[in-house]
């Protein structure tokens, strides 16, 4: 069937709410408003206000309540409107969700799923557009995933809910409207492995979430230059599937890592470091990175576009490595 990323996430939510009474959705404007990005539209009517629960603008309290509810036997899905807002709940995510299992010597696991929108591209400026998933990927004790395809939008949520530990799901805001074919019986997918989205021989482009489409477009353009690029979708940002990344680079000998985060201390830096650590003697060129310009995200369209990794940047970086 033809569907959108938004509908795929909604289908995943509906499926989870239907399958497991312990599942509930909680966040700002998830109910009556239908979700800030209309993801949860209609779910309130279907499942009622107890299970599709509008929360006050208290990120710390409702994320913390999600952790508590998970401790108390529920399977909460907490929606934080954007990753920028999640910084208000950083204490709960990092100091509680990520630590409780270890701090309690294995007694208390936190089966919590936190969904949030990430990324730029919609002229929302410097407090709604950033990509902090790389920060979260720094923290042991949480799993970080970034569905970039319809299949993953549909399938990652249930697997995340089955995980006994906290999972953060990052949905790039530019993806909600993408449309495509999704199998009628699409269901749960793994949240452990990266995926080769396009095989190629000359160069590996590593991307995830909102940059996957750009990476694929760049790969198509590179064909004209005789460069056959392989595109790896990270899918899970923590724990990183190093084997798939390194396996690809070992075949292609070149890598460009695309990341909407800022370059300094970025997830791209981590991926690059792992490639250098584990595939150094297979590298035929330095690892390239295409990241966001190091500015708070500007509003004006041309400035925002200039700040973000674009297809042309990926193509240029690939050519520079002499794929």
């Amino acid at each position: 069937m033809t569907t959108t990323y938004r509908e795929a996430v909604r289908a995943a939510l509906r499926d989870a709410l239907t399958r497991d009474d312990r599942v509930f959705l909680m966040g700002e404007d998830v109910g009556r408003y239908g979700g800030c990005f209309a993801v949860s539209l209609g779910l309130l009517e279907e499942f009622g206000p107890d299970r599709v629960r509008d929360a006050p603008l208290s990120e710390s309290a409702f994320v913390g309540a999600g952790i508590g509810a998970a401790l108390g036997g529920m399977r909460p899905i907490v929606e934080v409107m954007t990753v920028n807002f999640s910084l208000l709940a950083l204490d709960q995510i990092v100091n509680n969700a990520a630590t409780l299992l270890h701090m309690s010597g294995g007694q208390f696991n936190v089966p919590l799923v936190v969904r949030m929108t990430t990324g730029a591209g919609r002229q929302l400026a410097a407090q709604h557009s950033h990509s902090f998933e790389g920060w979260y990927a720094h923290v042991p004790g949480i799993r970080v995933v970034a569905p970039a395809t319809l299949e993953d939008a549909r399938g990652m949520l249930w697997t995340a809910l089955c995980d006994p530990d906290p999972v953060l799901v990052f949905e790039h805001g530019s993806l909600y409207n993408i449309e495509g074919e999704l199998a009628d019986d699409a269901g749960a997918v793994d949240i452990d492995r990266a995926a080769v989205r396009r095989p190629g021989r000359d160069l590996t482009v590593v991307a995830y979430g909102g940059t996957l489409g750009k990476a694929l477009a760049a790969a198509d353009q590179l064909t004209a230059d005789g460069i056959d690029a392989e595109v790896v979708d990270l899918r899970t940002l923590r724990p990183l599937d190093t084997a798939t990344i390194v396996g690809s680079v070992t075949r292609t000998h070149r890598a460009v890592v695309v990341d909407e985060g800022w370059r300094t201390g970025s997830l791209a830096a981590e991926v690059s470091a792992r490639i250098t650590e584990e595939a150094f003697y297979d590298l035929d060129a330095p690892v390239g990175r295409v990241c966001s310009a190091e500015v708070p995200m500007p509003y004006a369209r041309h400035l925002e576009e200039a700040a973000l990794p674009q297809v042309a940047d990926i193509v240029a970086a690939a050519k520079e490595l002499g794929g």
Binding site: Y281, D282, L283, D284
Partner: protein
């Protein structure tokens, strides 16, 4: 930890060959060390008595770190200070507060030591890690390859495009690596041999000559000589073949040297001896100055070299400079060897088995022990006439074994 190479920063001690109390003499092998490149024996440079081993096997030590203490004379009781003192268990209360170590005040500018002089550094060659690895496997000198990669770096593809110039040193990948990862090492060695031989076959216009040498005189002399010797001192026919080849090489310098764009003869004869390794693989380390060794010395050198090659304990110089290689497959039962030259050498001498064969001489058919000697030689450096001269010289020398 001796520095066993300019790029060596540390080595792992694999085993001790001595124990405290052992007397050692200059030149003795006291330990075996694993570097990134090979397993290497450590010689001692003074006479004395081993007082203490300071590094445990399996431990990595930086170059310059003491591995053992050797007393010049019979050791007196070790000084008390040298003995590791047992850490005194601190009383609980006194051990209480760990204090932050105070940072040493930095030397004030102007009063400090003289400005550090920067050691001159050789220009760094820009090449990708992959290109470096492959060049090493194929024995290609990266400095001679034009780079097309970022910043002019040599990338893997450049190696294929380049007019390949052999590296002056033998391919280091052919040296057995450190112990462990046996599978990897064998695979790596196979790759290295493959790359080297492929290059030889691709680049060197080989010509091949063969001759049959009557070994009756040589073997008779050998039997007579060995009669007076204990089993362990006996000479083998192989030693005669090596010595004869070494002397012949000295006579025919056009086949004893290197091709690196043009021919460069070697003043010395370092005979590469092809040794097949247990578990596969081939290595051809050198017997240095083989033409100057007596047969006994040559025999001893051969035994030592084969043993060490198979144990993976060659010295690095032995890998780097053979001037002519001999491959003797006689004990494998073959009649003759059509060899492939080890670049950058220009010739390879092969011997088959010494066997009794029908032999016509003066119109009569007899049975004589003979050996088939072959030569593979680089047509860029010589042609058949020179090659024939070498084989003839070997034949002639073997007819006068007492002079070898």
């Amino acid at each position: 930890m001796p520095s066993l190479g300019a790029d060596m920063e540390a080595g792992t001690l694999l085993e001790w060959r001595v124990q405290p109390g052992d007397t050692v003499h200059r030149g003795d092998i006291v330990a075996v060390v694993d570097t990134e490149k090979s397993t290497i024996e450590v010689e001692v440079f003074e006479d004395g008595v081993v007082e203490a081993l300071l590094v445990e096997p399996g431990t990595e030590a930086p170059v310059g770190a003491p591995l053992a203490r050797i007393a010049a004379v019979a050791p007196a009781a070790p000084a008390a200070a040298a003995r590791p003192t047992r850490a005194v268990a601190a009383g609980r209360k006194r051990a209480a507060r760990p204090r932050k170590a105070k940072a040493k005040p930095a030397a004030r500018p102007g009063t400090a030591e003289p400005a550090p002089t920067v050691a001159p550094v050789a220009a760094h060659l820009r090449a990708s890690p992959l290109a470096r690895r492959r060049a090493a496997e194929r024995g290609i000198d990266l400095a001679a390859v034009a780079g097309s990669g970022p910043g002019g770096a040599v990338v893997a593809a450049d190696l294929d495009r380049a007019t390949v110039v052999p590296a002056p040193a033998a391919p280091e990948a052919a040296v057995p690596g450190p112990p462990g990862r046996r599978e990897d090492r064998q695979a790596a060695m196979r790759r290295a041999i493959g790359a080297l031989m492929a290059r030889s076959a691709r680049e060197i216009p080989h010509y091949h000559l063969a001759t049959t040498i009557d070994m009756a005189t040589a073997l008779a002399w050998l039997a007579e000589t060995n009669e007076q010797r204990s089993v362990s001192e006996r000479l083998l026919p192989g030693a005669l073949l090596l010595k004869a080849t070494a002397l012949a090489a000295r006579e025919v310098p056009a086949l004893n040297g290197f091709w690196d764009g043009s021919y460069r003869p070697s003043p010395a004869v370092h005979l590469g001896v092809a040794v097949s390794l247990r578990g596969g693989g081939l290595i051809a380390p050198a017997i240095h100055d083989a033409d100057r060794l007596t047969l006994d010395e040559l025999m001893a050198a051969l035994r030592d070299l084969v043993g060490r090659a198979r144990a993976g304990r060659l010295r690095s110089s032995e890998m780097s400079d053979p001037t002519l290689t001999v491959t003797n497959l006689g004990d494998q039962g073959v009649d003759e060897v059509h060899g492939v030259i080890y670049p950058p050498q220009v010739a390879l001498v092969g011997f088959g088995r010494v066997a009794e064969r029908p032999w016509a001489c003066g119109g009569m058919l007899g049975v004589r022990p003979t050996v088939r000697a072959t030569l593979a030689a680089d047509h860029r450096a010589t042609d058949g006439m020179i090659g024939a001269r070498l084989l003839n010289a070997i034949d002639r020398l073997l007819q006068h074994p007492e002079d070898l």
